[in-house]
Subunit: 348 residues, 2 copies
């Protein structure tokens, strides 16, 4: 069997405490002893048992990450950032990919209570109240990203500004007849993006045409789907030609892509007939040449992970709520009509 600390102690002719101290970089071990222990440990291929260590130290060196699998696009980027931050402190990442928001609860219940992990990183979903209350009360280190709760640190993007930014961009392009295709209003981000849109329109004294402001019904993924985008666009195109907007703010890239497809199938062109903006800047947005609002997912992931580590060190630090400014990424779907964009040459 694998050697234990006792084996090393015996071989190196020291006490077990000393071996432990060597492996924890405790200062009060003489250089000579330390070297001797290390030599024996290397020879015997000794590695401290993580579970035993965790049990004794009352920590696990692992955090639980809840990500929705269905937002597969940024989530890779996020995970990458999170992991690279965690690896600096040798902390494991236990992944719980949630395929349906309701599963989050089950997943939380089964895991996470006591000692399994030292902290939780929770992405893009609302944490069920039962757990939120429990965690807040027990001071379990929890950090939220792309979602919000007063009781926990949270990192999210300024959705209102994003909605405004997209709208203002279209206005600057000369559009005055602007509509919005939104996800379900059940989703806080969707509501915020809509608020930004309305605000920008009001600020520019442009008319808000309610029949141009369409939202998904509540449904899977709160309507952040290609199907939803396609359906909403179809609904919009049922309006008579002369009574359509010339530009649309869409509440997510994935919906925008659905909308673009519908547009294409109706023989309409983007941006010539209708300009479109997305939201998120997911990987394929660039390939669709989609103007969009970028969320700094990677940055948010890294900062959130770092924050979680701090909170694990000291659970009493005050809660912070940080918001990020989204960034407008201008591409072909909002090119000013007269100027021919270069996207024509970029096809496969």
């Amino acid at each position: 069997m694998a050697p234990t600390i006792y084996d090393i102690a015996r071989e190196a002719k020291v006490g077990i405490g000393t071996v432990s101290r060597v492996f924890n970089n405790h200062p009060s071990v003489s250089d000579e002893t330390r070297k001797r222990v290390m030599r024996v440990a290397t020879r015997m291929n000794y590695h401290p048992h993580p579970l035993a260590r965790g049990l004794a130290q009352r920590r696990t060196n692992a955090i639980l990450v809840f990500v929705p699998f269905f937002t597969s696009f940024f989530f890779v980027e996020i995970l990458e950032a999170v992991q690279s931050t965690l690896s600096e402190v040798d902390c494991d990442l236990i992944l719980h990919g949630i395929t349906h928001p309701d599963h989050a609860e089950i997943s939380l219940r089964r895991n996470s209570f006591r000692g399994r992990v030292d902290g939780i990183l929770f992405f893009s979903m609302r944490m069920p109240e039962e757990f939120a209350a429990e965690y807040a009360h027990l001071r379990v280190p929890v950090v939220l990203v792309d979602t919000h709760d007063d009781r926990f640190d949270s990192f999210s993007v300024q959705n209102v500004h994003g909605g405004m930014g997209a709208t203002e961009h279209l206005i600057r392009q000369g559009h005055t007849r602007i509509g919005m295709l939104n996800a379900s209003l059940d989703s806080p981000p969707a509501r915020e993006r809509l608020a930004g849109f309305r605000q920008a329109m009001r600020d520019a004294r442009l008319p808000l045409r309610e029949e141009w402001i369409l939202s998904s019904p509540s449904g899977p993924l709160d309507g952040f789907t290609k199907q939803s985008g396609q359906a909403l666009m179809k609904q919009l195109l049922s309006l008579p030609r002369h009574d359509r907007p010339s530009a649309l703010v869409v509440s997510s890239d994935i919906q925008a892509i659905g909308a673009l497809q519908e547009l294409g199938q109706s023989g309409l062109r983007c941006p010539d007939d209708i300009a479109v903006t997305g939201f998120d800047d997911i990987e394929i947005a660039a390939h669709f040449n989609l103007t969009t609002i970028r969320q700094p997912m990677s940055e948010m992931g890294a900062l959130a992970a770092r924050r979680l580590l701090e909170r694990m060190k000291d659970p009493e630090i005050p809660v912070v709520q940080k918001t990020f400014e989204p960034e407008l990424i201008v591409r072909g779907t909002t090119a000013v009509p007269p100027v021919k964009s270069t996207r024509q040459s970029r096809r496969a």
Copy 2:
């Protein structure tokens, strides 16, 4: 603090052994006692400590998954499949996303030795020999996916057949002047795909023009990158116009996309000037309308996870090497020139 088994035993007026038995569904506990213990446990919100349990049972209920982040495209799909399989048995997934193949070694060294996990799932990378030997010797349950080693169970796609399939498809389309843009020959899959290409060409008695068979130099990701595809295409296009192939088998989608971009920038059209096939069927392949060879990643992930669980139950079961037949997905980049494909309408 959180209640322990002792607290429950005291409250329920039973011994600790009994409490433990209740939580492990041990049969020899009377119904009455079981109920009483459960009632107390629920009231006190008791949950067994996973680390203590792991230490005592000598297992962790966790497996380590190594995935290359750089293949971000399928990896989401894989993880989803793996996790859904694991969740059936309440096993945790510790994720090690590798950003660079060399990191795998560091990651393996730090983790995985002894008790941290019960098994390892290793994707798409060659396992460093040092560990392979160690694991094989110690009978650590290891399952490989999209990579191969005689000492471990492995699940991978028939790359040779994939290469042949792509080539044969082009031949059926009427192409006779066919080349290949390959990743680095350091990579076994790259070599196998090339072998398939050569085989198909030989079978069809078509000439193999070595100057049309280009491979990436060894480098980052073994040349499975957009940059590599772009560079190889550029190199190919440096041939005089009349001396170019009319179709190219490319060893991965990501390279194919790079190649297509280069093609576009040179004012050439696909498939009219040069037809292209990819490999993998990553998410964006569909958006590029890329004909490709699909790997059943999700299926492989699920089967691999299941196999790992079996091996964890019984490490002595014989090693199996399963290969999957890849599937040809025909799209626009190999459309027969005369027939106008529908992809023209599908743009944004």
